[in-house]
């Protein structure tokens, strides 16, 4: 049984059937890649997992519990964190403040209001945030306005923010898009390291095949809203259908 089980999921936008009959089974502590051409419905699928969209049909089970009908914050608290395709951070706040938010959100959960506790004196929280920034090579930018960072930096910050919550399932939507080659390689290394060190399941959407083949244990190919094949990276590489639908286009 997988940690994430998606069955029969369908989603329609007006006249467009963005997803239909989507089945996905992500096994615990693996890295599962979802690839497919632009507009295949990959991001839409993730939106259905985190409560941003409610699928028209089907079910989504995480650790044996349905996520449908729960609000996004509850789903996050169940252990799912997501990095968005276009970086979603708190642009008005500094890098350090951005880093503190997911940590405090996880700690305080639904609600915590204590005007007498101070940010500056929360030693453990601050140290942890500092460490996360260090791991991502962002420490020297800690007091920077996060909106003024490069796209690659924003993405690394968002990855750090998600990782700081120590999620059971990490959803990455094209995490290396807009990153320099060196940063991409660093990110691959970091994700590999995290996979080894923690009990974490990763579902990653990625166009960069180098990233996919470096990380993935299994790959699902999505085309026009339906899964085409699901297999190991070795088998996907030579799969004729995949070449036709996807690799053929980019190669």
């Amino acid at each position: 049984m997988g940690i994430l089980e998606v069955k029969d999921v369908g989603k329609r936008f007006g006249g467009l059937q963005a997803l239909s009959d989507v089945h996905l089974n992500v096994m615990e502590n693996t890295c599962h890649a979802i690839i497919g051409p632009n507009g295949a419905g990959k991001s839409t699928l993730l939106n259905c997992l985190i409560g941003k969209l409610i699928p028209d049909t089907g079910s989504v089970m995480f650790q044996g519990q349905s996520v449908l009908g729960r609000s996004p914050f509850e789903i996050n608290q169940m252990g799912i964190s997501r990095v968005f395709q276009t970086p979603e951070i708190f642009g008005d706040l500094t890098v350090m403040e951005n880093m503190l938010i997911p940590i405090l959100a996880k700690r305080d959960g639904a609600f915590e209001m204590n005007g007498w506790s101070k940010l500056a004196s929360q030693k453990d929280v601050n140290e942890y945030a500092e460490k996360m920034l260090e791991d991502m090579n962002l420490v020297d930018k800690r007091n920077m306005h996060s909106a003024s960072m490069s796209r690659g930096d924003k993405r690394r910050l968002e990855i750090a923010m998600c990782l700081s919550q120590d999620p059971s399932l990490l959803l990455l939507d094209e995490p290396t898009a807009g990153m320099a080659r060196a940063d991409t390689n660093n990110t691959i290394d970091l994700l590999k390291q995290i996979k080894e060190e923690r009990d974490i399941t990763i579902a990653i959407i990625e166009h960069d095949m180098h990233v996919v083949f470096s990380l993935a244990d299994r790959i699902t190919v999505l085309a026009q809203g339906t899964p085409l094949v699901e297999d190991t990276p070795e088998n996907i590489k030579g799969h004729p259908k995949v070449k036709e639908a996807y690799l053929g286009e980019t190669a």
Binding site: F73, D92, K118, L119, A120
Partner: protein
């Protein structure tokens, strides 16, 4: 100091010093001089400065931190006022219970309004709060007359029960006091032509302002405050980060409403009369102007904005055409009339015009309000300093 960092502590000290010395600072002109009418250091006006300062600081906790623009905050001020007067009628003319009950009642009232209005965000939230406030105003002026005194307003009467004082049916209505010190009591000092008035009511309100300001600093710097700023920055993201934003928003709204109630309570402590117009939408709009003029989301901004608007309302508005003629009497007759005609629309009853122009100017050129103005001036000076320091090295 008091758990504040150096910068915040010095800001708090500055506010405390301003409050303490306002009767002197705001009376820069000798009593006999022609400019004495620009003096703002009389109790009535100084009380208004600090009370509206509290109102604006509280409003800014909501608007400045979360970006939720309430257009109905005067409703809480009004509710607080009524509660305060009732406390003085029923229990005692000591102002402390009145101020406390004002805050509590406004808090309860804002739970109700906040719970409903916060189902929406953006412009819809603003409209909902506006609708609630106008509804409260209309009800207070009509149906609720037994509680609010209707259009004439609610004030103290000689035959009020005043349980704690036993009531009296002869003599004067007792004046609001702080354990015997009447709010209207003042110590007047006449020093070499300058008149300084140290008023009990003003200092009571001033102390409350300092406490309210300190509390606001603590809220701004707490994890709670960070979450509120994150709501303003990207509320959706915060949801996907595992935070339930609703209780945070409601708590913030209620705190902000309690500040308004506190201001309302202080108002009736200074002058025990509450009228429905206090809840009208213009009053709600005024606190929005104060906050924007002073600097949205800054700590000191709202206090400055409140001061500026109240100064204009009370001082600028008193300049009439006679006075203008007096000032420009040194010009040749024709020119004098001309200059007075030009200036007249901007002063006296026309002060709204000046305020409006100023407001536009601030929005366009100084989105950060007076605080940004101050920062820019400081930057200009520090640049000059820096130049002077670097010159010898060349």
């Amino acid at each position: 100091m008091l758990g504040l960092n150096k910068k915040d502590a010095s800001l708090l000290l500055m506010v405390a010093a301003l409050v303490a010395f306002a009767p002197i600072l705001l009376n820069p002109f000798p009593e006999a001089s022609a400019l004495a009418q620009f003096n703002a250091g009389y109790p009535d006006l100084m009380q208004r400065f600090v009370i509206f300062g509290i109102f604006a600081v509280g409003f800014n906790i909501l608007f400045g931190l979360t970006g939720y623009l309430s257009f109905g905050h005067a409703a809480f001020l009004g509710a607080g006022s009524y509660a305060g007067v009732w406390m003085m009628k029923l229990l005692t003319v000591n102002v402390i219970p009145a101020i406390l009950i004002s805050t509590v009642v406004a808090g309860l009232f804002s739970i109700l309004i906040g719970f409903i209005s916060l189902r929406r965000s953006g412009i819809y939230f603003s409209i909902l709060t506006l609708a609630f406030a106008q509804m409260s105003f209309a009800l207070a002026a009509s149906v609720l007359t037994p509680i609010t005194g209707g259009e004439t307003g609610l004030n103290l009467a000689l035959d009020d029960p005043r349980i704690l004082e036993g009531g009296n049916t002869t003599g004067n209505i007792p004046a609001p006091n702080f354990f015997g010190l009447e709010m209207g009591d003042s110590l007047q000092l006449n020093v070499a032509g300058w008149l300084w008035t140290f008023n009990v009511g003003y200092y009571l309100a001033g102390v409350v302002l300092i406490i309210a300001f300190y509390t606001a600093i603590r809220i701004f710097r707490s994890p709670f405050g960070l979450m509120l700023r994150a709501i303003k920055s990207n509320q959706h993201r915060l949801g996907f980060t595992g935070l339930n934003t609703r209780p945070y928003m409601l708590a913030c709204f209620v705190i902000s409403g309690m500040y308004a109630g506190l201001a309302g309570g202080l108002m009736v402590a200074m002058d025990p009369l509450a009228g429905a117009e206090r809840m009208q939408w213009t009053a709600s709009g005024e606190v929005v102007l104060m906050t924007i003029l002073g600097g949205i989301g800054t700590l000191i901004g709202p206090v400055l904005g409140a001061g500026l608007i109240k100064y204009f309302e009370n001082i600028f508005s008193k300049i009439n055409s006679n006075l203008l003629h007096e000032w420009f009497a040194f010009l040749p007759d024709g020119l004098e009339d001309f200059v007075v005609t030009i200036i007249y629309p901007f002063v006296g009853k026309g002060w709204h015009l000046t305020l409006g122009l100023m407001f536009m100017g601030v929005i366009i050129f100084l989105p950060g309000g007076l605080v940004e103005l101050g920062q820019r001036i400081r930057r200009v000076f520090s640049k000059k300093d820096a130049n002077q320091h670097t010159k010898p090295a060349e």
